[in-house]
């Protein structure tokens, strides 16, 4: 593969040419209730060639297979000329690197037979149903993936990387006396199946669904709200992703200028694609730029943006290593990876103290944005009464204007944790990328809570 890629790049006549190939081995087993519903594997090899020249915009081509790489680059070059762009591309310079990160995987999911993966999924389903008699139905989806990436550019960058990951998603539906509630949970991590006991995930999801059976709808109103690290991370991801990345195709172009105050001094957030042991982490991005932690908001002020080489070049800044391709055959765009909220001080009890009547959101069902509006829907929630966690409530949704919400941040806890849910981010038409979030507990004051407040 290396020779074919380098040969194709050597013959390219474009000012800049880039060729990325990916080979993905994946398998999945779906258990519906206690029975296997599907088992399968996929093997996909696909690539992406991209070119630009002085005075032209991008031309890019995605393809299946590994043949005719030279003609793929030529087509990309022709498309860059055909576009007739009036906006030439300026790529910010990066150090040229050659990396071979292809050590044998110590826990390769490809070495585990599909039948063994099925047994593992069935065991998780058993754990789900054994947790409580009120679990009426459920689903367990076990997936794994090995991805081999080759990236070369006409500037001399060469990256070859091999990675593996596993993910589990669990759905539980609890039923009692005509009341039906559901809960979802997931886990995604680098590595394979030999390490880690994931039964706790299934049990927690089951307990979450059962807890909701007796939860009463939250009374709409304005509350002090404490978010657990997963919910706080989801909110921060929205802030980092949608306020700090330059415009994407099909996405809302609402990037905040550097120096804008968007929250209190205790709010410091960023994105760290170099964080260890997370699925969205890596040594370099999809343009070959070394990844590094980027602070986006410092003490409540916008300090920087996430950049690809193109957006950094347009701004006269250095790229931050955030160029990520949302599909095997797609172009890289600046996207968030591991968004984090920097820890402050104190633990959950400290944040609950002093809240006479509030809402505690643990875990998040979804966090969506539209324009400058954000809606965060809690998967599980409890009332806070006199500084203590009280009865479970459901239908908790908080939101509104994202900046207004960030402005209501009161205290940031010190108990930082990365959330390893199998989260993906869709942004505009740039495709889906895996993301992680990390945060401590977070308290906001005077937040509208209810159903449909956002």
């Amino acid at each position: 593969m290396k020779d074919a890629i380098l040969d194709a790049l050597a013959h390219s006549r474009a000012g800049y040419g880039e060729l990325r190939m990916r080979r993905v081995w994946s398998s999945r087993v779906l258990i519906r209730n206690r029975e296997v519903a599907a088992a399968g594997s996929a093997h996909e090899t696909a690539g992406h060639a991209r070119c630009c020249s002085p005075g032209t915009g991008w031309g890019s081509v995605g393809f299946s297979g590994t043949d005719r790489l030279g003609s793929r680059l030529l087509t990309a070059h022709e498309l860059s000329l055909a576009g007739g762009s009036r906006v030439p591309i300026t790529l910010a310079p990066v150090p040229i690197r050659q990396l071979e990160l292809t050590d044998a995987l110590p826990d390769d999911p490809r070495d585990v037979p599909l039948a063994a993966k099925r047994r593992r999924a069935e065991q998780l389903a058993e754990a789900l149903f054994a947790t409580d008699r009120r679990i009426a139905s459920g689903r367990v989806l076990c997936c794994d993936e090995v991805v081999e990436t080759w990236l070369g550019t006409t500037e001399g960058t060469w990256i070859h990387e091999l990675r593996s990951s596993v993910s589990i998603a669990v759905l539980a539906i609890a039923e009692e006396s005509g009341s039906v509630e559901r809960a979802l949970g997931s886990l995604a991590e680098p590595g394979g199946w030999r390490t880690g006991d994931r039964t706790e995930l299934a049990q927690n999801v089951a307990l979450g669904a059962v807890e909701q059976l007796h939860a009463k709808p939250v009374r709409p109103g304005r509350y002090s709200v404490v978010l657990d690290p997963a919910a706080a991370g989801a909110l921060v991801h929205r802030a980092v992703t949608h306020l700090a990345r330059p415009a994407l195709p099909g996405a809302d172009p609402d990037v905040l200028p550097i120096g804008t105050r968007i929250g209190p001094d205790c709010l410091t957030a960023g994105d760290d694609p170099a964080a260890e042991s997370l699925l969205a982490s890596g040594a370099c991005d999809d343009e070959g730029t070394a990844t590094r932690r980027s602070i986006v908001i410092q003490n409540g002020m916008v300090l920087g943006h996430l950049h690809s080489r193109e957006t950094a070049g347009a701004s006269g800044l250095a790229p931050t290593g955030h160029a990520r391709a949302g599909t095997l055959r797609g172009s890289p765009f600046p996207r968030a990876s591991n968004s984090y909220l920097a820890p402050g001080q104190g633990k959950l009890d400290d944040l609950l103290a002093g809240v006479a009547n509030g809402v505690y959101c643990s875990d998040v069902l979804c966090c969506e944005e539209s324009g400058d509006q954000v809606a965060l829907r809690a998967a599980r929630a409890r009332m806070i009464r006199d500084g203590r966690l009280a009865e479970p409530v459901k239908g908790v949704e908080l939101g509104g204007d994202l900046l207004a919400l960030l402005g209501r941040v009161d205290v940031v806890g010190g108990d930082f944790a990365w959330d390893k849910s199998a989260a993906r981010c869709r942004d505009g038409t740039a495709g889906l990328v895996r993301v992680s979030t990390g945060a401590p507990h977070l308290r906001l004051v005077d937040v509208p809570v209810g159903a449909g407040v956002a």
Binding site: H43, G83, L114, P249, P253, R329
Partner: protein, 432 residues
């Protein structure tokens, strides 16, 4: 490759079917600052499903190595579900218009012309406009060990825009698009431009008397989003064996008697038109709700085997090799009221041009909370202005039972053809 696969498998399994899909996509996008990006993408995937010892195994590949694909599908069968799957026999295919040569042959210049035609009509000061045009051209081949060997060509072409108002008169991003098997015409471009102007023109209402459960007119684009839970409730496992609110209600009245819904893979030149599904089952029009009465659900071969019902020809292969059940082109039959009559019927009510899908507390059960950034106050048949921060909540299935009216303005929104719907019983909250 698919003939080779079945030849090699015939003596080793009880049955097998295979699908080969090729897709060639060309996309041109013009960003608000004038940057033009042209990208092409060609994908080729082969899906194989085997039946061995009563178990099903699926695998897919983008490569040409037949033996490797066979080995993985056999391994998947060892771990796969036990199912009595009866593969279809060969049958004549219906004639369906799924391919337009003009769309298949569209190059970057043709897409650029189309995108710029839309850009010119939308561009004005105080706006950021992003436009795109795309065409996809491909083929699908389906075969099985019972002798089915069918295939068809398909194209899909579209043009669309995201228009953002900046400065005074701010509005959320306005997204419009038109798509079909044929390349959109200048007439389609004019319709899109007219829709954008219609949505952006009314002034923002600074103050108004709140409406808690008003009569609401969902324009076709909003209706298509609103009906997503209905689509889910009519399809697949949830409908036949799961938690669809329509399960076990075949033959019952589930909606207003003026509502008729059908799935139509034979609709000419629509995004999901096809003569045969990915299981090799011949496509046919399928009435789902007729005058408010529930007549049918969608099934593929695997679900049919589980539920003990025949496949309705709605199987799709997914990227991860397994199959799923899904609609093709969903058609809601038109009513008799014109758009002006619907607005008059609103009295003091709301017109919603588009909705943003957010799922909701329980979308399968039809319980939704949807953001409605394109909501207009209508009084006496006249649009007074746009309301900001509107959220719609309620239950889709309850709303369909108490429809106030159905418009005659059927419009294709992607693969859904729907008229305007006049609904009541939904709760509106407004936080401008």
């Amino acid at each position: 490759m698919i003939a080779r696969l079945l030849d090699r498998l015939s003596a080793r399994v009880h049955g097998a079917d295979t699908v080969a899909k090729i897709d060639d996509v060309l996309t041109l996008a013009i960003s608000p600052d004038g940057d033009t990006r042209v990208s092409g993408s060609r994908s080729r995937t082969t899906y194989l499903r085997v039946i061995r010892d009563g178990k099903i195994g699926c695998a897919s590949s983008t490569g040409d190595d037949a033996e490797e694909l066979i080995a993985r599908s056999l391994a998947a069968a060892d771990a796969g579900p036990e199912l009595e799957l009866l593969l279809p026999a060969p049958a004549p295919l219906p004639a369906v218009e799924s391919h337009a040569p003009q769309a298949a042959g569209a190059d970057a210049t043709a897409l650029d012309r189309l995108a710029r035609a839309l850009l010119e009509r939308l561009q004005q000061s105080g706006r950021r406009v992003e436009v795109w045009a795309e065409r996809s051209s491909g083929s699908v081949q389906v075969a099985n060990t019972r002798g089915v060997h069918a295939g068809y060509q398909a194209t899909l072409a579209g043009v669309g825009a995201v228009v953002e108002s900046i400065g005074a008169g701010w509005a959320p991003p306005c997204r419009v698009h038109a798509a079909g098997a044929a390349l959109p015409t200048l007439g389609d471009v004019e319709l899109l431009a007219a829709e954008v102007e219609r949505r952006l023109a009314p002034p923002i209402m600074e103050s108004y008397r709140p409406l808690e459960q008003p009569l609401i007119c969902l324009a076709p684009r909003a209706a298509a989003t609103f009906l997503r839970p209905l689509r889910a409730a009519l399809a697949g496992y949830e409908a036949w064996l799961g938690r669809s609110p329509l399960r076990d209600r075949l033959g019952e009245r589930v909606a207003d008697e003026r509502l008729s819904v059908a799935d139509d893979p034979l609709a000419p030149a629509r995004p999901a038109s096809r003569p045969v599904d990915d299981d090799g089952v011949v496509s046919r029009q399928l009435p789902l709700i007729e005058r408010g009465r529930l007549l049918g659900f969608l099934a593929d071969l695997e679900l049919g085997a589980r539920a003990g019902v025949p496949s309705t020809g709605h199987g799709w292969r997914t990227p991860n090799a397994t199959s799923r059940v899904g609609c093709t082109n969903l058609r809601i039959a038109p009513g008799i009221e014109g758009p002006a009559t619907l607005r008059t019927m609103l009295g003091r009510g709301l017109l919603i041009e588009d909705l943003e899908w957010r799922g909701g507390p329980n979308p399968l059960a039809g319980t939704l909370t949807l953001s409605a950034p394109w909501t207009y106050l209508v009084e006496g048949g006249v649009v007074r202005g746009r309301l900001e921060g509107v959220t719609l909540s309620g239950n889709v299935f309850r709303s369909l039972v108490q429809l106030a009216a159905i418009g005659n303005d059927v419009t294709w929104c992607g693969a859904i053809c729907t008229p305007s719907l006049l609904v009541e019983g939904l709760t509106v909250t407004c936080h401008p």
